[in-house]
C-alpha cells in the first residue's frame, strides 16, 4: 500500500442545472483519512463518485495513485445467493483473503440469502467485500447507516487499521465519526 495518494484540484460538480460545489481541493497521502461532512443533498455522494472516477467532474482534476475500493448504499451482492457464495464471487475476482467474517459478525450468516439480511448486516457484508479487495484507497459513502453502536465502533477500528497500514480513507457521512487524526472537510464551505 506504499505510495498511495489522492489529489483533487479545484473540483466543481454540477448535477442537472445546479452547481453543487466548486473550488474544492485537497491532497491525501498514505495513512491519512478525510471526513466529508454536510447536509443531505449537498454533494457528498457525488464527490465520492467523482473521486472514484465514476462521475466526470464539471471542472478540475483528480489524481489517484493506487486502486480504489468503494462502499456505498448498494452492497453489490446478489440478493438471492447465500452470503457466503455472494462474497465468494468477489473473492474469485479479488483473490483469496484472510477471513474477516468472524470479526464482522458474519460467520453465522454465510448460508442466509443476502435479501434476508438486515440493513446493518448487509452493510457488514459490504465491508467484507471492501476489505477483500485490498485496495489502498477506500471511499466510504455513509458507511455508518444502519449500523448499531458496535458496528460503528467496528468501522472506526477498520478505518484506523487501514490508515495505519498506509491506506487512504475518504468517508462521506453526516454522522460523527471518531477517529484519531482525521481531517474534516465541510462541503458547505465550497457551496456554489
Amino acid at each position: 500500500m506504499q505510495g498511495a495518494s489522492l489529489t483533487l484540484r479545484d473540483i466543481a460538480c454540477r448535477r442537472g442545472d445546479n452547481l453543487l460545489f466548486r473550488g474544492l481541493s485537497f491532497a491525501l497521502v498514505g495513512g491519512q483519512a478525510l471526513h466529508l461532512t454536510g447536509a443531505n443533498g449537498i454533494g457528498k455522494s457525488s464527490l465520492i463518485r467523482i473521486i472514484a472516477g465514476l462521475l466526470p467532474a464539471y471542472r478540475g482534476s483528480v489524481e489517484r495513485e493506487g486502486a480504489v475500493a468503494l462502499l456505498d448504499e448498494r452492497p453489490a451482492l446478489d440478493p438471492h445467493l447465500p452470503l457466503g457464495r455472494a462474497l465468494a464471487f468477489w473473492q474469485r475476482l479479488d483473490g483469496p483473503e484472510d477471513n474477516q467474517a468472524a470479526r464482522l459478525g458474519l460467520s453465522d450468516l454465510m448460508d442466509v440469502p443476502v435479501r434476508y439480511l438486515s440493513t446493518g448486516q448487509k452493510k457488514r457484508a459490504a465491508l467484507a467485500r471492501l476489505i477483500g479487495q485490498r485496495a489502498p484507497l477506500w471511499l466510504l459513502d455513509e458507511p455508518l447507516n444502519g449500523l448499531d453502536a458496535k458496528g460503528v465502533a467496528l468501522v472506526e477500528t477498520l478505518v484506523a487499521e487501514h490508515c495505519r497500514g498506509g491506506g487512504i480513507c475518504v468517508i462521506a457521512s453526516h454522522q460523527p465519526i471518531s477517529l484519531a487524526d482525521v481531517r474534516r472537510l465541510a462541503i458547505a464551505d465550497h457551496a456554489a
Binding site: 465514476l54 468503494l70 448498494r74 438471492h80
Partner: protein, 218 residues
C-alpha cells in the same frame, strides 16, 4: 479462475434454466405456444402451413428473444455491480461481451431444440426444418448481441422493457429478412448474409453496450 471465467459462470448461473432470471424457460414456452396457435388461426390447410410455417418459427424466435431483455442488464446496474467491476479495471465492454455469450447460451440452444416440436406443429418438412435450424444457428448470436445492447441502452429508463422490445424489432429486420428469406429461395446466400448480419451486431454490441452503461452513470 480467470476474470472472464468468473463472470461467465455467474451470468450462466443467473440466466440458465433454474437461474433467478429465468432466461430459458419463458422464451421456449412462448416459442412453442406460437407454433401451436398458428395452425389454429390459419386452419388445417397443410400446403399453406408448410409454405409459411418456417417464417412463423422465425418470427416466434425473434419475439421470444425479446422476453428476457429487462433482466439482462438492469438488475446488475441497480445492485451497483457495474461500478464495482469498473473500479477493478474490468471494462464494461468485457462484461457486455461475456453477457452476450451467456445470453446466447441460455436461449438459443433451447430454442433450436424447441424448433423440432415447433416444426411438427406447423407441419414443415425435413429440408425446410434444416434451413430453419441453420438460420437460427447463424441468426441467434446476432439476436443475443442486439438484445444485450438494447437492454444496456434502456436499463434504468421507465418502461424500459417495452421500449427495448420496440427497439429490437426494427434492428432485427436484417436477420429476419436473410434468415427467413433463405427459406423462400432455398439458397445458401440468405444464410450467409444472415450470418454476416449477426457478425456485425456481435462486433458492435460490446462497444455500444459499454458506452450506454457509461453514459447512464451519474
Amino acid at each position: 479462475m480467470s476474470t472472464l471465467g468468473t463472470l461467465l459462470l455467474r451470468d450462466l448461473k443467473q440466466l440458465l434454466l433454474g437461474g433467478r432470471r429465468g432466461g430459458t424457460l419463458l422464451p421456449v414456452l412462448f416459442f412453442i405456444a406460437v407454433a401451436m396457435l398458428y395452425p389454429f388461426a390459419v386452419g388445417p390447410d397443410a400446403p399453406v402451413l408448410a409454405r409459411t410455417g418456417g417464417g412463423v418459427l422465425w418470427i416466434a424466435a425473434l419475439l421470444a428473444a425479446i422476453l428476457p431483455l429487462d433482466r439482462l442488464i438492469e438488475p446488475d446496474l441497480e445492485l451497483g455491480l457495474f461500478d464495482q467491476w469498473t473500479l477493478r479495471g474490468i471494462s464494461e465492454e468485457m462484461v457486455i461481451a461475456v453477457r452476450v455469450l451467456a445470453h446466447w447460451l441460455s436461449f438459443a440452444p433451447p430454442l433450436m431444440l424447441a424448433a423440432l416440436p415447433g416444426a411438427a406443429l406447423v407441419g414443415i418438412d425435413g429440408p425446410t426444418l434444416r434451413t430453419v435450424e441453420l438460420g437460427l444457428l447463424l441468426g441467434t448470436p446476432g439476436l443475443a448481441a442486439l438484445g444485450v445492447t438494447v437492454a444496456a441502452l434502456t436499463a434504468g429508463l421507465r418502461g424500459g422493457a417495452a421500449l427495448g422490445g420496440l427497439l429490437v424489432i426494427p434492428l432485427a429486420v436484417p436477420l429476419l429478412v436473410f434468415g427467413a428469406g433463405s427459406l423462400a429461395t432455398g439458397g445458401e446466400s440468405g444464410l450467409a448474409l444472415c450470418g454476416a448480419a449477426s457478425l456485425v451486431l456481435l462486433a458492435i454490441a460490446p462497444f455500444a453496450g459499454g458506452a450506454a452503461i457509461r453514459a447512464g452513470r451519474g
